[in-house]
Amino acid sequence: MEFGIKPLGRERLWLWTLLLPTLFGLVFSAFGSLLATIALSFTNWDLLSSPTWAGLKNYIALFTDAKFLKSLSNTAIFSAMYVPGVVIISLLVAVLLNRKIRGIGIFRTAYYLPAVTSAVATALVWNMIYGKDTGILNYVLGLLHLQPICWLCTSHAMVSVVIVNIWGAIGEGMIIFLAGLTAIPREYYEAAMMDGASLTKQFFKITLPLITPSIFFQTLMATINAFQAYDYIYMLTRQGQGDSNIPVVVFSIYRNAWYFGNYGGASAQAIELTVIVAVLMLIYLWLEKRYVFYE
C-alpha cells in the first residue's frame, strides 16, 4: 500500500511505541497459537491423553471427509452471498447517511447498534422474526396474501442466515465508508453540479472511484469475517446433538475439537481455513494494485 504521509524522526519512535502492545499480543498469542495449531494438526489428540503422531492423516481427511467437505461448500456459498451483500448495502447506507439532515445521529446509531449488541441476544430476536407459524415475517407475508416461508428450514436457512449476518455487519461497514466519504473534497461535487451532473452520475463518476480504498478494505474485512462466521449460524440453525442444518467450517472445527475428541483433525481444518483466507488476501492485494485508486 502506498500512503501519502511517511512517518519521520520522532514520529517513527511514537509509531513503534504505539504499535508495541499490538505486536506483542500478535507475536506471543496469535502467532504462538498458530504455531501450536500447525503442530497439533499432525497429531491425534483427544485433549485427555497425550497427542500421538498422525502424519498427514488429518490433511488427507480434509479431502475425504464428506461432512467437512459439506461444511467447506457451505462456507463458500455463505461468503459468496455475504461479502458482496455487506459491501454494497453498507456503502448504500453510508451514502444515504452522509448528508446533513435532522436526526442523522439517530439513524447512524440505529444502523450501528447490531455491531455492539450481543449476537446471541439478537439471534433470539431473529428467531422470533423467522418463526414458521409464529414469526413476524410470515405474519407480514400473510397480510400481503403471500405464502408463508419456512425461513430456517434447510431449503432457506442459508439465505436467512446470510441476511442476519449482513444486517449485523452493516454498521461496521457504514463507519468505514462514512470515513471514506467525508474525505472526498466537496469541490468535486460542486463542480459536477455546475456542469449539471445528476446524483446518480455523481455517485458513479466521483464517489465510487474515490472510495475504492474503503471498498477494498471493507471487502477484505468482510471476507475474513465470512470465513469466521459462527455465532448467528450457531444460534439460528443449531439442532439435534449440536449440529446445524447448514454447518460451516468453524462449526466443524468446534464440533471436532470439543465433542468428537478430534483436536488434530480440527487443527488441520483450521489451517486449511487460514490458508484459504491467506490466498484470497493475496489475490485481493494483487487486485488492489490494479484497481484501487489512492488520491
Binding site: C153, T154, Q239, G240, Q241, D243, N245, W258
Partner: protein, 420 residues
C-alpha cells in the same frame, strides 16, 4: 473480540486454579459441575455443611451451563490443571475413565465398608468397571410422562394412567391437538418428545416395542431392527400423519421444549425439568410411561461425580463425595428438586416425596422397576451425534424415515468401530 474474551477468561481460570491448594493450613478443594444458578445455591449449602463437619477443608464450587462445562473441563484436563472433583454424566463416563484422567475410587470405597449399601443399585451399575469404581452417582433421573392438567381438563379427558399403551397415548394426543383460534394452524399439540437425545422419548418407545439401542458389547447399533422401526414409525406417524407432535422446525420457534412453552399437552421427561415447568406456571403432573407390545420401559440415567487422577488431596476429595452421598448431603439435593436422590432412605422420605411442587414424585421412583440404563460406552458422544444429528432431517420433515435409518445405522456403527 469474543475469542479474546474467552481466552482471557481461560487464562484467569488457569491462574486461579493454579494457586489455591493449601491456604492457611487448610486443604482447598475445587469442584466443577454443570447446572443452573439455583443449583449453585444448594451446592454452596452442601459445601457449608461439609466444611462445618470438616473444619480443615474448604471447597470452592463452580457451576457452568451444560455446553460450556464440557469445553471448560476438557481445556483444564488438557492443561493438566483439572479441578479436584467434577461432575460427570453417566453416558460420557467411560470416555473419561478410559483416558486415564480419573482416580480409581475402589481403594477408598474398600476402606469405607458399607458406604454404598443404601444406594439404588441401578444407579451404581453405570460406574462399575473391571478395575472398580472411578466415579459414583450423586442423583438419578428416570423418564416419566408429564402431562398438562389444564389441557386435559379443557378437553374433558381423563389424565393418563398406568394402564396406558402407546396406542392410547397416540389416540389421546390426536384429541388434544387443536386449532383453538381457527386460523388453520395448530396451536396446541397432543404430544412432543426430544427428537435428538434418546433418553426422554425414543429409547422408551423402542424398548417397549421390543427393540434396543445398541448391543451388549457396544459393537452394533440396533435402532434399525424391525422392532425398533415399529417404534420409529409410531413417532413418525404421530408427527407427520396425525400431526399431533410438532416437527423440529415447529418446535424450534418455541425454543425447543413445547411442553415448557405450554403448547404441547404431554411429553416424556426427567425430573430436571420440574423446577422449570413449575416456574412457567404450568399445571402439570406425571404418570408412568405407556406400555408397548413388549411391555413397559423407561430409561434411568445418573449424574455422578469423579475425582481427577492428578489431585493432590484424594482422601479429602473422597470425603466430600462421601458427604454428598450421606443423609445430610442427599437431603439437600432432594430439596433442590432437580433430580432424585440416589440414597434410598432419602428418596423414600417425605423430603423427596412431599416437595413444594406437588406432583406424583413416587412415579419417578416406581419407574426404576421397569427402567433400563441409558447406555454407557466409549465414544458415546460421537455415536449419539451420529444418531441424533443423523435423524434430524427426518424430524424436520425433509427425509424419508427408513432410508435415513439405514444410513444412520451405518454411520453410527462406523463410530463404534473407531472407538473399539
Amino acid at each position: 473480540m469474543k475469542k479474546a474474551l474467552f481466552s482471557l477468561a481461560m487464562i484467569a481460570i488457569l491462574l486461579l486454579s493454579a494457586c489455591g491448594s493449601n491456604i492457611g493450613g487448610k486443604t482447598q478443594l475445587s469442584f466443577m459441575m454443570w447446572g443452573d444458578p439455583a443449583e449453585l445455591t444448594v451446592w454452596k449449602q452442601i459445601v457449608t455443611d461439609f466444611e462445618a463437619a470438616n473444619p480443615n477443608t474448604t471447597v470452592s464450587v463452580e457451576v457452568s451451563d451444560w455446553d460450556s462445562y464440557w469445553t471448560k473441563l476438557k481445556t483444564l484436563l488438557a492443561a493438566k490443571t483439572p479441578p479436584d472433583m467434577f461432575a460427570i454424566d453417566a453416558p460420557l463416563y467411560l470416555d473419561y475413565q478410559s483416558k486415564g484422567v480419573l482416580l480409581n475410587l475402589q481403594p477408598y470405597i474398600d476402606a469405607n465398608p458399607g458406604m454404598l449399601d443404601g444406594l439404588y443399585p441401578q444407579t451404581l451399575q453405570a460406574y462399575q468397571t473391571p478395575e472398580g469404581y472411578f466415579g459414583l452417582p450423586r442423583d438419578f433421573q428416570t423418564i416419566v410422562l408429564f402431562y398438562n392438567k389444564a389441557m386435559f381438563d379443557a378437553a374433558g379427558m381423563a389424565y393418563p394412567t398406568a394402564d396406558w399403551t402407546w396406542d392410547d397415548l397416540r389416540a389421546a394426543a390426536k384429541k388434544l391437538t387443536l386449532d383453538t383460534n381457527g386460523d388453520g394452524k395448530t396451536d396446541q399439540y397432543g404430544f412432543s418428545f426430544d427428537m435428538w437425545d434418546m433418553e426422554p422419548g425414543y429409547s422408551e418407545a423402542i424398548w417397549s416395542y421390543g427393540g434396543d439401542m445398541i448391543n451388549a458389547d457396544h459393537t452394533q447399533t440396533l435402532i434399525g431392527s424391525p422392532e425398533a422401526r415399529q417404534a420409529w414409525q409410531l413417532l413418525y406417524d404421530m408427527t407427520f400423519v396425525d400431526k399431533s407432535v410438532p416437527d423440529s422446525n415447529t418446535s424450534g420457534q418455541y425454543g425447543g421444549d413445547t411442553f415448557l412453552a405450554g403448547v404441547s399437552a404431554m411429553t416424556p421427561m426427567g425430573h430436571w425439568s420440574v423446577p422449570g415447568y413449575a416456574d412457567a406456571n404450568l399445571q402439570f403432573d406425571v404418570a408412568p410411561m405407556p406400555k408397548g407390545p413388549a411391555g413397559r420401559y423407561t430409561s434411568v440415567n445418573s449424574a455422578g461425580f469423579v475425582i481427577a487422577k492428578g489431585t493432590k488431596h484424594p482422601a479429602e476429595a473422597f470425603s466430600f463425595l462421601k458427604f454428598v452421598l450421606s443423609n445430610a448431603g442427599q437431603t439437600r439435593l432432594a430439596e433442590l428438586g432437580f433430580a432424585c436422590p440416589v440414597l434410598q432412605s432419602i428418596a423414600q422420605s417425605s423430603t423427596f416425596l412431599q416437595q413444594k411442587i406437588t406432583i406424583n414424585q413416587q412415579a419417578f421412583l416406581d419407574a426404576l422397576q421397569y427402567a433400563r440404563i441409558k447406555p454407557v460406552f466409549k465414544g458415546y458422544d460421537e455415536w449419539a451425534s451420529a444418531v441424533g444429528d443423523g435423524m434430524a432431517p427426518v424430524w424436520r420433515g425433509e427425509a424419508d424415515l427408513n432410508t435415513t435409518l439405514d444410513e444412520v445405522v451405518i454411520a453410527a456403527d462406523a463410530v463404534l468401530a473407531k472407538n473399539k
